[in-house]
Each structure stands twice: as C-alpha cells, then as structure tokens.
C-alpha cells in the first residue's frame, strides 16, 4: 500500500509547500544533499513524497502516476481538461499568487477590453493577410477564454516557452497571454493588460488524482490526507 505526493522541487514554492504541509501534520523530511530529489514523510506510513517541477506535477496528475500533487492552478487548468473530472483541487494554499492575463502593446491605444480585441482580430486578416497572433504557453486557457468565453475565433496561437512578453517586439506575435504577479515585466515591455482580460487568478494548490483503482487501505488514507489538508487550508 502506498500513496504518492509530489511537491515542487525548488525555490519559494518548495519552501512554502513544506511549511504548509507541516501545518497540516505532514512533516516532509528532505535528503541532506540539497540537490537530491528524494524526500519522505517519516510520520505517515505509506506516504511516498517525491520532488518534481511544478509543470511535471500537473502532467503526472493528468497521467495518473501520482495521487497528490502541489502545483499552480494555472498549470493544472492548462494541462488537464476541466470537464474530464479526473483531478480535483483539494485545497488552495494561499501562496504563489499570479494572474494569467491578456496583454496588448501600449501603443494599441484603441484597445481596452475584449470587445475591442474581438473587433481588431476580426479585421486583422483583411488588413495583414494573416490572423492575429497570440504568444502564450497557455494554449488551452487562451482558447477557452477567447473562443468559448468571448466567441472570438479569428486568431492563431504561437507557442512560447519563455520570455513570452518579448514576443510582440520580436515580431513573432501581436499580443500575449502571460502569467504575472505584479505586472512589472509586462509594463517594462510596454504591454498593458485589458480591463476584462483576467483569464485566471492562479495560486498554489494541492490536487488529487481521482481513481477507482485504489485498494481500501489506500482509499482510506487518501480520505484521511484530504481531511488533514483541508483543515489546514486558509
């Protein structure tokens, strides 16, 4: 019998997670070598703790290879189709706050909201012989917001794996969908967020992969851990 919990492998997110788990009664002991990815929860028998990058945690939850994972809501929503119902957010953890937003060049003085962007996107092809391009690493969130929420179909997504905010100046995209905590990086790149351009207010969360395959002791343990995590959540 064992249940696995994956936590972020580095930085602030890792430290905050360990602190929050301790408050929930789950003490995580790390390997003495700080570069190691091994960890344990010595007081909780049957709980394996592993360290992974936050994006990997979202992927492994989707794949069903871990039971619990601490990651960002943004990565969770981007990686897992919400309607699939396979992963459940057990608790939001109250740190790692950041917003996924739509941002356009400051020079687009005629664009303040999604209505404006709809109009610009619709006329784009006729003027420029191509669709308006959006740079983002959030393909699913972008498509959900633009198409399903706002009925905008006329755009293309340019996958960006880093420095998304630089895409308009680099000429690889016209606008961006990016994650930001203070907006300062966007402003430094002369981009402005739209009034109604908040796609997701993200924060760290602990998520559970739903599964009918767990044996009764595992299922009981999952229930118990959920109770502890919820009780400690803010």
């Amino acid at each position: 019998m064992s249940v696995t919990l994956a936590i972020p492998s580095k930085g602030r997110l890792k430290d905050d997670t360990i602190e929050r788990l301790a408050a929930a009664g789950i003490r995580v002991a790390l390997d003495e070598d700080a570069r190691s990815y091994r960890a344990a929860a010595p007081e909780i028998e049957g709980l394996d703790v592993i360290l992974m990058s936050a994006s990997e945690i979202a992927r492994e939850l989707a794949a069903g290879s871990i039971d619990f994972g601490v990651t960002g809501l943004d990565l969770l929503h981007e990686t897992i189709e919400e309607a699939s119902g396979t992963v459940e957010v057990v608790a939001e953890l109250g740190f790692g706050h950041a917003d996924v937003v739509v941002a356009v060049p400051e020079a687009w003085v005629d664009v303040d909201g999604m209505d404006d962007l709809d109009d610009v996107a619709a006329g784009f092809r006729q003027r420029h012989h191509r669709r308006m391009r959006i740079a983002t690493k959030y393909r699913r969130l972008t498509e959900g917001f633009f198409t399903r929420r706002h009925g905008i179909q006329t755009y293309r997504i340019v996958e960006s794996l880093g420095a998304t905010e630089a895409a308009p100046a680099a000429g690889t995209a016209d606008i961006v969908v990016d994650i930001t905590t203070t907006g300062s990086t966007l402003r430094a790149n002369r981009l402005k967020t739209l009034d109604d351009g908040l796609i997701l207010a993200s924060q760290a969360c602990i998520a559970l992969r739903k599964s009918a395959m767990r044996d009764p002791p595992e299922a009981a343990m999952v229930t118990q851990l959920c109770r502890m995590l919820r009780a400690a959540a803010v």
Binding site: E81, A83, S84, P105, E106, A107, W108, V109, D110, D112, D115, D116, D118, D119, V120, A122, G123, F124, R125, R127, H128, R130, R131, M132, R139, T142, E143, F146, T147, R148, G151, Q153, T154, Y155, R156, I157, P168, A169, G171, D174, N189, R190, L191, D195
Partner: protein, 386 residues
Amino acid sequence: MRVLEPGRAEVSAAAMTFETDLAAALAARDAPRVAVDVLVPADPYLDTAGESLRRRIFLTRGESGEDLCLRPDFTIPVCLRHIEAQGVLPRRYSYLGLVFRQHRRERETEFRQAGIEDLGEPDVAAADARALADALAALATCGLAGDLTTLVGDQALFEAFLAALGLPAGWQRRLIRTFGDDVQLASALTRLSRPAEDRLAGLEPELHALARAGDRGGLSAIVRERMEEGGLSPHAGRDPSEIAARLIEKVAIAEARLDAAALARLKAFLAIDCSLAAASGELRRLAAESGVDFGRALAQFEARNAALAAAGVDLAALDYRAAFGRPLDYYTGFVFEIRPRAGGEVLAGGGRYDRLLTYLGARAPVPAVGFSLWLDRIEAIGGDTP
C-alpha cells in the same frame, strides 16, 4: 505523399454499392471526382476555422515540425488542390471518403462524407440553387426524397439590413461576426442597446481630444512614438494609422447606443421564420414597414429562389429563417442544412464561402459554394440505393 483510401474491413457489399452509386451520381452532375490525401497540413484549418478546431481534429507533427492532421473535411483540401493545380474556372469537383473528427462525448471518430464544391461560377444565384438542388438530388439517390426538412439562411440579407438601418460600421461588423450564433448575437445586441456609461473611461484626455477632432495624423504620431518605445516594428502588424482610425471610430460611436426603434426592427428581421415561398413577401413587407431597402441582397435572394424553382425544387417545402447562418468568417451568404423531418442530426449541409479561397492563397477572389452529405447518418436512417 499519397495515401490510399483506407478501406474498412467491415464494409459490406451493400455499403460498397451505395457508395459507388452515390459517387457516380455526384460525378455525373458535371463534377468529376477528386481524391485528396488523408493526412493534410493542419495550418489551413486552424487559420480558417480557428484554434478551437485543435481539440476536434487529430493532429500530428511531421518530421520537419509542421502540423499535420487527418482531414476533418474535404472542402479545404479540394480548394487547396485546385489552387495548387491552377485549375481553370469555373470548375466543379465531387468527393467521397472518410473524414476524421473527435468529440469528448462520442466514441465514433471516422465519418464518411461525400459532396460537391463549385468554384468560380460567376452566376452566384444559379450556383447557390444548383448546390441545394444537387444535395436534394443526392439524398434522393440514397433513397431519401420525402420526410426531410430543409432550412435556408442568407447572411447577405442580414448585412444589407444592418447597413440600411444606418448602424455605425463598427457595430455592423460586430453583429455580423456573431451571425449564426444566437447566444452571442443576443448578447451583442444587449450590450449595444445599453447606455454607453464609461466605455472611454481609460482613455487619456489628450488621445480623447485628438480622436474627437478626427485628427488621424496627430494620433498616428503618438502611436508611432509608443510603438518605437516598445520596440514594435510599424510594419510587422497593426500600423499607427490603422490604430488611430479605429480609435477615432470608437470615440465617435462611444456615446451612441442602439435606439429602441432600430433594435425592434432588427429583432423583427431576425424573427422571420417561414417557408421559402413566403420569405420574399415577408422581407418586402418588413422593408416597407421599417423604411429600409435590402437592395441587391434581396434581388439575389429572389434570383436564387427563381433558380431553385426552375430546378424543380418546391419552395413551399423549404424553410427560411432570417437568423440562420454559420459564425465562420469565410461564409458569406447562402447556407442550408437538411435533416430528417422526424428530427435528428444534419444529413446534408452547405453554403457559400466566397472568402475561403483567398484565405487559402488564391490570388484573386473566387466565388464558391458547396455541400457535403453525412453518409453514415443517411445510411442509419434507412437511406439506400433505390
């Protein structure tokens, strides 16, 4: 690369006959059959139908990184093939084969489709009528003649009505974008008929003043400066004068709102739902009552109906709904769909897509209309060779 048509192991002899007969019947309508690849570039689909299609098609990546997909329809590959071959116009093509789509709630992913694409016919009304008459005739070939309902729509009438109401161009564009999507259209109408509160709240006073004065040059200069500050090339995407012009337009209509009379007329138009035989009379009555002129759009509509009647189609048996359309920007006018009278999924759908070929790279605009038949559905409800 040329992939052989995948034969389904379980295809029965009866189904083979059904397909052979139908393919022959379509080709005999002056539309030679073409074959297209099963694996096709995905970009033309994502560019025309939008990114949301990504979730509904089967995508893969070629060795050199290009996105490929299993063809989700025939229209785009047939048109691309025509453009590549620099085919002579006008020209008609027929097709029959598998298309591939995925949907979360459905297990089925392969569907058989057949149809005709009619490219470059300058007599638009005649070509439209022919597409619908061909679709009905093809269904008759499959043993489905009665017990069908056919719904017809025409975006050109909607566009003409908006223009005749004298709505600002920006509003017209917005409403036209939502045409065919009743929910988005209703929400756009609601927003336009609300008072304009603070639509310009975030606008800097200097820009507001320039825009109100219609000073495109002054605005352009400011925008150009900001583009330089942001390291944006003025040629890579939206340019300063385009942004300035749109701001002027936005300011000009910010204080306006859709007045109650115009809204009522628009709603009266969108509510028209009658037989195609009665449609022209209804439209003329509405035009007279609200003092608007549909202009050329109504003449085209009537010419099409006349061509349909001449092709032996009973207009009294078809339905016209003014709000019926497809919210895809390359559909420009006439659309139709045919279902079983008892209800159920679409058996045949078609329409005019005059913008598609230029989107796909044709040098000059090509008027185009076509339709496709859903063979599995047709077979399931008992269509067969007579």
